[in-house]
């Protein structure tokens, strides 16, 4: 709560800058129009025009909000022009990819923690894999998979998975190794097996590490799904809306897709935060 006022101030400042930039960027088009119509614009008329153009260089925030309202509340969910429908297409790919990435990441982390050979051979490549700009070649993967008949949800989910497994591996390796030597020795005095140690000690103590990784993984997964939608001929999903908007210069549509993606990301991350709070409270790890 302490940071409520500061956050509000910063968001307010961003809004002011946004409106200012909208006026500055859109004014030349407003003057152009006026020149062709042989009228002179007063300053206030010019400002009013920059707020209400059809294809502005930078739409004003309230135009974006109006567009989002129009395409969510006023459209039927099944309609192809409904932002909720497009959002759902993206969300389903995101969630599937996230689930696969998390599962794969945890398995890999368990393997790395238990096998020295795996740690030494795989771990460097896991890190290297992230320096490869896979996101940039994601569209290619989609197109190629399409060419051999795999289309729809799965290709996008694969890209999401590739992006989301990394933070989980790194976080879980750290987490599974977080029990200290004394706790491990204690387990050994009870002659616990490796799997008992994993379930009773390593996994519970890794929870505080898991959730922050999940948040990063979720955000990455959404980015993957959106980029994965770019080349599919602009059919469905928030990414498709972005691409269609850029083809036809529909800036308001681009921004509304962007903002929806932002809201989606924030909601998903907040949801994980909520689960994190409940879980850690139950496990007595939250003060």
């Amino acid at each position: 709560m302490r940071s409520f006022a500061p956050v509000l101030t910063v968001v307010g400042a961003i809004m002011v800058i946004w409106y200012g930039a909208a006026v500055a960027l859109n004014s030349s088009w407003a003057y152009d129009k006026a020149k062709r119509a042989d009228v002179t614009l007063s300053f206030s008329e010019m400002v009013a025009d920059t707020m209400a153009q059809k294809k502005p260089l930078l739409p004003a925030p309230h135009q974006v909000v109006a567009e989002i309202y129009k395409t969510t509340v006023l459209k039927k969910i099944t309609s192809k022009r409904s932002l909720i429908w497009h959002g759902w297409v993206t969300l389903s790919a995101t969630l599937l990819g996230f689930a696969m990435g998390t599962g794969f990441g945890i398995l890999l982390a368990v393997g790395i923690v238990h096998s020295r050979a795996m740690d030494m051979s795989v771990m460097p490549w896991v890190i290297t894999s992230q320096t490869i700009p896979i996101l940039a070649v994601a569209p290619m993967i989609i197109v190629v998979l399409n060419a051999v008949g795999i289309s729809g949800l799965l290709p996008k989910a694969f890209i999401s998975m590739y992006l989301s497994f990394f933070p989980v591996v790194v976080g879980m390796v750290k987490g599974l190794r977080s029990p200290d030597a004394m706790q491990m020795d204690q387990m050994r005095t009870w002659s616990a097996t490796q799997s008992t140690m994993l379930w009773k000690l390593r996994l519970p103590s890794s929870m505080p590490y898991l959730f922050p990784s999940l948040k990063i993984a979720m955000a990455a997964s959404l980015v993957g799904a959106i980029v994965g939608e770019l080349p599919t001929g602009a059919v469905a999903g928030l990414g498709a809306r972005l691409l269609a908007g850029s083809y036809y210069g529909q800036t308001i549509q681009i921004w509304s897709a962007l903002i929806s993606a932002a809201v989606l990301a924030a909601t998903l991350v907040a949801l994980i935060g909520l689960i994190q709070n409940i879980t850690l409270k139950r496990m007595g790890m939250l003060r």
Partner: protein
Amino acid sequence: MSWIIGALLFWAAMWLLNVQLSKRPQTRALSLLVPLIFGVTLLVLWEGMVRGFQISPILLPPPSAISVRFANSLPILWVDFVQTFVKGAMSGYIIGCGSAFLMAIAVNRSPFLQRGLLPVGNFVAALPIVGMAPILVMWFGFDWQSKAAVVVVMVFFPMLVNTVEGLKASDHMQRDLMQTYGASYWQGLMKLSLPAAMPFIFNGLKICSTLALIGAIVAEFFGSPIKGMGFRISTEVGRLSLDMVWAEITVAALAGSAFYGVVALIEKRVTFWHPSQRG
């Protein structure tokens, strides 16, 4: 069939070798050799599977074909590399990280602004910023300037958040110590806050190094002159010459890893004192 069996046998043999090697006392050479063997094994497995199952080169070309294509089209690859990496990614990276750093220094004196910027910055850093690419291409044109702009927007907030976080990293006692010397604000910043922030700053720089290349390539999908890695990838995909696409991916992978490696190396030099670097 023999290709598949051969590849699998090779895999098994190399894995056993790695298990043996990893039991030895760890040395520098060994910690390079083991992942190297693993990487080679993956390549052999790839080659073997593609040949054994006779996978169409349109779907997945074997590594041998990719390396031949790579060697034959070095001039094109170089032109693309300069356009995308040097002009687009690097200039955007320097401008973006630099301005985020200056911004962090500017808000450092105001705890109020810091408390406001951190949550907002963290939020923006988690957003699919690449989506801004079509807008920025519209604003800055098709050439590398728009790619640099995308990179600036992508790297700004991760860098800002890390630097702000880092400038707060010095502990209470060390700040009290500065007070007992009657040190000025700028002396405290230069002698204490900035050095203590270095591990965080480099963390940001490392994250941004991978983002920069992604941003520059993705931005080219929304319009570019007839050169550049993103342009090449999207047109060669259209012509189904996948070996060229993979050659371009190899360049991207090499450039990305090298870039990350250079930043990590500088980090090792600068933050040699940090527990994570002392090993």
